[in-house]
């Protein structure tokens, strides 16, 4: 096999001959670059330079380009070298490389302070765009529901049931497990601290109010945003990437009606059910811990629970659920449809679907808290 590449310099009466030898291939690129950079310094020193490549044992695009680079920089320096000894196999490659236009555009994405400020500014302006997008989607979904109400036959029951299975039925185990554990933890912490002033039994009040009004629905909504919101965004996003949504549109279907309405409806039905199951599981877990750890037997627990909470607490919690579901669904669908062609974009939008979903759920919860406080519920 051929050895390391070399570029030998031999002085002649009328100039200089450069003899290239060895294998001028990609594998030797670092060595070759040095050799060529060295030889480029010969510019102007001699009136006549020739490059002899007859002893090159192997040549590929890298080697051919480096010879070409040398030729160009020598030419720029005022000496036009002639290339000799080119074998027939390689001449077409060298010709090909000679046609390459010099000075490739360099991509420079430098991080500067103005650039960062620019990004912050754009992000702030983007918030307005996001809100507009969400309201736009809400309007589109409401309009589509209106059309479906007028023409009930266009309603996609199968699709809705399918999504209901995905977001509701299959979510039950994990939702119940997590809310059960949270109930246990709230109860244990309550008993531990209340015991110091002999108020063990009030843990039931805390548990009941907290779980039914706030934690139950909020926790479930956050889980659903992470579990189903992300799935919606990924599904719609990859459909967008493969032009499936465009295909639907050209066949005369409204993607909102076909894809988004069933998903939204499934979510709006699912979240109250999951919130209810979650609340029950949390109460059960809390009761269990109160009994085993705090010595509050089940009968006393139930008795106290009946006194401590009214139907209002439950209503407040469950009213919030469908609204939160709608928020999660709209955010997920808007993000899904915003996906561009790349895998990276899909990842970004799925992330932002979950982040925005959770953010809006918490904001909604705050709005509801103010509302219910002012109407005295």
């Amino acid at each position: 096999m051929s050895g390391d590449p070399t570029l030998e310099r031999i002085s002649r009466s009328n100039g200089l001959a450069l003899f290239a030898a060895g294998s001028w291939t990609a594998g030797f690129a670092p060595v070759l670059e040095e050799i060529v950079a060295d030889a480029e310094k010969l510019t102007g020193s001699r009136p006549d330079i020739s490059i002899d490549v007859s002893r090159v044992s192997k040549l590929d695009t890298f080697g051919a380009w480096l010879i070409e680079r040398l030729r160009r920089s020598l030419t720029q320096g005022g000496v036009e070298p002639n290339i000799a000894g080119l074998s027939a196999n390689y001449s077409s490659l060298v010709d090909e490389v000679r046609r390459v236009k010099a000075a490739p555009p360099i991509d420079t994405t430098a991080v500067t302070i103005t650039g960062m400020l620019d990004q912050v500014g754009r992000a702030v302006v983007g918030v307005g765009g996001t809100m507009a997008g969400l309201i736009d989607m809400l309007g589109a979904v409401l309009a589509a529901s209106g059309r479906v109400l007028i023409h009930p036959r266009s309603f996609r029951l199968t699709s809705t049931v399918h999504h209901l299975e995905q977001v509701c039925w299959r979510a039950v185990p994990i939702v119940v497990l997590i809310t059960f554990l949270i109930g246990c933890i709230i109860s244990q912490q309550g008993i531990f601290h209340f015991r110091k002033f002999g108020a063990d039994i009030f843990v039931v009040d805390m548990l009941g109010v907290l779980v039914l009004r706030e934690i139950g629905v909020l926790l479930v909504a956050i889980m659903v945003a992470g579990r189903s919101g992300s799935a919606y965004t990924a599904e719609l996003g990859s459909m967008k990437m493969r032009e499936e949504i465009d295909a639907l549109r050209t066949m005369g279907f409204d993607p909102i009606e076909v894809l988004i309405l069933p998903r939204m409806l499934a979510l709006v039905i699912a979240l109250p059910i999951l919130a209810f199951l979650g609340a029950i599981a949390a109460l059960y877990g809390g009761g269990l811990v109160a009994w085993l750890y705090g010595g509050v037997d089940p009968e006393a627990f139930l008795l106290r629970l009946r006194d401590a909470i009214s139907i209002d607490h439950f209503t407040v919690g469950i009213i919030k659920a469908p609204v939160m579901a709608a928020v999660i669904g709209i955010v997920a669908c808007v993000e899904g449809l915003a996906v561009q062609g790349s895998a990276e974009s899909l990842g970004q939008h799925t992330t932002s679907s979950v982040v925005k979903g959770i953010f809006f759920v918490i904001v909604m919860d705050g709005v509801f808290a103010i509302f219910f406080a002012s109407i005295g519920m």
């Binding site: 695009t61 380009w65 090909e96 390459v100 236009k101 991509d107």
Partner: protein, 256 residues
């Protein structure tokens, strides 16, 4: 260096591939000679892509042996395998460009992994490769989603050629291109084969490609190679599928 005395760059012997209980390839033998463009045809679903993917190691085989560059891929350790992979380039049917990287990054990706090359040389080589596949340097900073179908194929070919491979696999390179674009592509493959001394393994359904670009044609059927040879031999064959394929309405149109 392993013995490469024989002229075959790929040597496939008694390959069997099975998905579940369906035998896709069964006792297949194939040689690809150094420096040739082999056109690989067969009915849809016959397993053309499966054979390609088996040779490049994406599909496991039940039995048989595959030698590429004289190296038995079953017996090769990781280092040997990598050395072989460095010497071949693959153009996937859909291009398989990395969608989150620009054209430039796509082409530079394999080079960066395998070679220590300065950024300047890398950029210059990228422009050279783009030029070779007939694209202008301005394309370099676009993302794959912003390219047309033909451009994706060209960029994918440029990426396949990034490391100056000795062997390229082309999976339906002209499908989805307009006839002029497909003709250009055939011409391009021919030119590159001449300039770079490539060996090309081309799965195709394009009769024009078979006529203009390929030196030899191999036909897959029933999990075996049913015929291999020059275009003239294919046309002379009495095999019913070959007759239908090479003497059908479309073939007559191509032959004029």
């Amino acid at each position: 260096m392993a013995p490469e005395a024989t002229n075959a760059i790929i040597r496939v012997r008694d390959i069997a591939v099975q998905f579940g209980s369906t035998k896709v390839l069964d006792g297949l033998n194939l040689d690809v000679k150094r420096g040739e463009i082999l056109g690989f045809v067969g009915p849809s679903g016959a397993g053309k892509s499966v054979l390609t993917r088996t040779i490049i190691g994406l599909v496991p085989k039940v039995s048989g042996s595959i030698e590429v560059f004289g190296i038995d891929l079953d017996g090769a350790d990781d280092a040997e395998r990598r050395a072989v992979e460095r010497r071949w380039g693959i153009l996937f049917q859909q291009g398989a460009l990395f969608s989150s990287l620009t054209v430039r990054q796509n082409i530079q990706f394999p080079v960066r992994e395998y070679l220590k090359v300065s950024q300047r040389l890398l950029d210059e080589i990228t422009v050279a490769k783009l030029g070779m596949v007939g694209l202008r340097p301005e394309v370099a900073d676009r993302f794959p989603a912003e390219l047309s179908g033909g451009m994706i194929k060209r960029v994918a070919l440029a990426r396949a050629l990034a490391l100056d491979p000795e062997l390229v696999f082309l999976d339906e390179p002209t499908s989805g291109l307009d006839p002029i674009g497909a003709g250009d592509f055939d011409e391009l493959v021919r030119t590159l084969q001449r300039t770079l001394g490539l060996t090309v393994f081309m799965v195709t359904h394009d009769l024009d490609s078979l006529y203009t670009a390929c030196d030899r044609i191999a036909v897959l059927g029933d999990g075996k190679i049913i015929a291999a040879g020059s275009m003239a031999e294919m046309q002379a064959s009495q095999h019913p599928w070959l007759r239908a394929y090479f003497h059908g309405k479309r073939a007559r149109a191509v032959m004029g």
